[in-house]
Amino acid sequence: MSTRLEAVAAIRGTRRRHRSGLRLANEAAQLALRRAGRRPIEVDLLLNAGLYHDGLLGEPALAAIIQDDIDANREDPSEDAGEDVSPQGTFSFDIANGACGMLTALQVADGFLAAGTIDHALVVASDADPGRRLAPAFPYRPAGAALLCAWDDGPGGLSGIRFASRPVDDGGMRAIVGFEGGRNRLAIEEGPAFLPEAATLAAEVACECVEQRGLAVRDVDLVVASPLRQPFLDDLARLLGVPADRVVRVRGGAETHTAALGLALDAAQHSPAWAAARTVLLVSAGAGLLAGAALLHPHG
């Protein structure tokens, strides 16, 4: 019994077409719902893990606006919505855990699914240039991803999510909105040691995750990891001792951020190795340092 991913969706934006992080999130959410054959009103919990959105909105949670836009139980509960009434409303909020946000959101969703509190959770993440001249050197390409999660009584699914942290100066990388030159600007800075240190921490927590489930790293058929940057993925493969071709790569993925894990999962599902993959290792690392890992048995 565990959380199963009913659908994975990824939207690769172009700078021209996708200037809105919200629009990317909405499109990814709707695509995941379509792929799963679910209606928006079936979403009980909606978690947004994306960080960089239109105008760098601070409140409300962007998840609430996504819920509104995809029409998931947006009406007042005291209204009689007619025959098409869901038995339960939708609860939406944001997870803001840097590049590990999607994995943290999966962990939070898994908790409510495991308790039997909800039937379906939708995890969404997207980033795009926030516009309004807030981020003159915004480093990420527009991208969005969504995962539709449900509880499954069968074997397989998601298990063993765990995190580790190792405080380092300035978190290894940092993103700060500060007032400079008469306006607020977002600056994202990364130290040279960030990627190798992130890979080290990610490999450690991944090994703990695998061992905790009574497996060995050699049992892992595919590694779905973020950030999708080659030095990180190369280091991770080397430290884990898995062949480089078991680590999912996504063209253009290096410039994506919170949605990267979803993009990698989507790419994995479309790869030839997926059909035979019994054990998939999910790994994320981000500023802090923070790293998390989980196992996914996609076919039971």
Partner: protein
């Protein structure tokens, strides 16, 4: 705004909230509130001083409108991280345990200012708080849910403890949010200004420690949350364009109308999940926006539910203003410190936030928690 009626109106039977209540096979444990802590900056700013700082002559009697006499503000001595860390330290000092035994640290803060008015979007604030208080073994993450952030953190903490995934969770928030008022003071002209609510904000830090309860302990009896997203764009905050910090634009009347419509049936649902009636609740701690809004809201709840809690709703907004996601913890600490909450009392924390988010946490308080706040003399 609908007028309050004296007869109970019929409430639709719903299960609209995402609710966790009685233990089950898959969630066999309960969580108890082990400690509560807060930080308030020493500097007081009266509503008269705030209104005297507006650029335009407004003729708005904000104190009469909201009941807010003063609020505490950082004058650069505190930021979001220092307030959250201070509250966490206060909470853990009252608890007296080893911070190394904390499994999870969650930050539910809206603001993430460090070093003045720099917003740190990454790395997360929760990690910095965990490091500062020595919760070195903890899993950490930030969540963001407007003024419902801390109670959302409590909701997640309750879930993890119920399932046995964590034994002890620290939920923190630090809101250095009064600077929105500095920015709003340049723009507010009339009572209809969408930035008027920014003038009600105060700064504070709040922290709660929850842990697995024994079979006979006081505990979180029910917690239920929902997002009425049709109202998602009624209160929006962004980094300011021309000023440091942020600006917030609120359609306060529309939010209030939605809250008055939606809160009574959702509160009724949460009470039903806990198997109790409103008369069984000793203290209701609503989100602190304005004393008038709280009294009107409670009158409507009383009319709708056909009964009232044992005590009038807790009001601290007169002293501290709206301290965003920390209001419930600030008020809970205030009531515990004043000796108003006694062992065995039942408290209803009611969140209302931009989204709009409505959440209810029903819990009982034990002697251990009460004793932490009783003056030793």
């Amino acid at each position: 705004m609908p007028a309050t009626t004296s007869t109970p109106r019929s409430l639709p039977v719903t299960s609209w909230l995402v609710t966790e209540a009685t233990p089950s096979e898959r969630a066999p444990h309960r969580a108890r509130l082990a400690a509560v802590g807060r930080t308030l900056p020493p500097t007081r700013l009266t509503t008269g001083e705030v209104m005297a700082s507006t650029r335009h002559r407004t003729r708005i009697d904000l104190e009469r409108l909201t009941g807010i006499r003063e609020r505490r503000v950082s004058v650069g001595d505190e930021d979001s991280l220092s307030l959250a860390t201070g509250a966490a330290r206060d909470c853990l000092a009252r608890w007296g345990g080893d911070p190394g035994d904390i499994d999870v640290v969650i930050s539910g803060s809206i603001t993430r200012y460090r070093d003045g008015l720099d917003t740190w979007l990454e790395p997360p604030m929760s990690l910095a708080v965990a490091e500062a208080v020595g919760a070195t073994a903890a899993t950490t993450f930030d969540l963001s849910n407007a003024c419902a952030g801390t109670l959302t953190g409590l909701f997640v903490a309750n879930n993890w403890i119920r399932r046995g995934a964590a034994r002890r969770v620290l939920v923190v928030s630090g809101e250095y949010i009064s600077q929105l008022g500095h920015n709003a003071a340049r723009y507010v002209r009339t009572i209809m200004s969408r930035e008027l609510a920014s003038l009600t904000l105060g700064d504070a830090g709040g922290a709660v420690l929850v842990e697995r309860a024994g079979d006979d302990d006081a505990c979180i009896e029910a917690a239920g949350f929902t997002t009425v997203a049709g109202h998602s764009r009624l209160c929006l905050a962004y980094p300011a364009r021309r000023e440091p910090g942020a600006r917030m634009f609120t359609r306060a009347r529309a939010i209030q109308a939605a809250a008055i419509l939606d809160t009574p049936p959702l509160l009724a649902e949460a009470l039903k999940a806990a198997g109790i009636a409103i008369e069984d609740v000793d203290h209701v701690i609503p989100h602190q926006t304005s004393a008038r809004a709280i009294r009107k809201g409670m009158a409507d709840v009383t009319a709708a539910l056909g009964g009232e809690p044992r005590n009038p709703a807790v009001v601290t907004v007169d002293r501290y203003g709206n301290t965003a996601s920390t209001t419930h913890v600030v008020a809970l600490a205030e009531e515990l410190g004043a000796g108003h909450i006694r062992p065995g009392d039942r408290v209803a924390l009611v969140a209302l936030a931009s989204g709009i988010e409505i959440g209810i946490v029903l819990l009982t308080v034990d002697a251990d928690l009460v004793d932490q706040h009783v003056d030793a003399t």
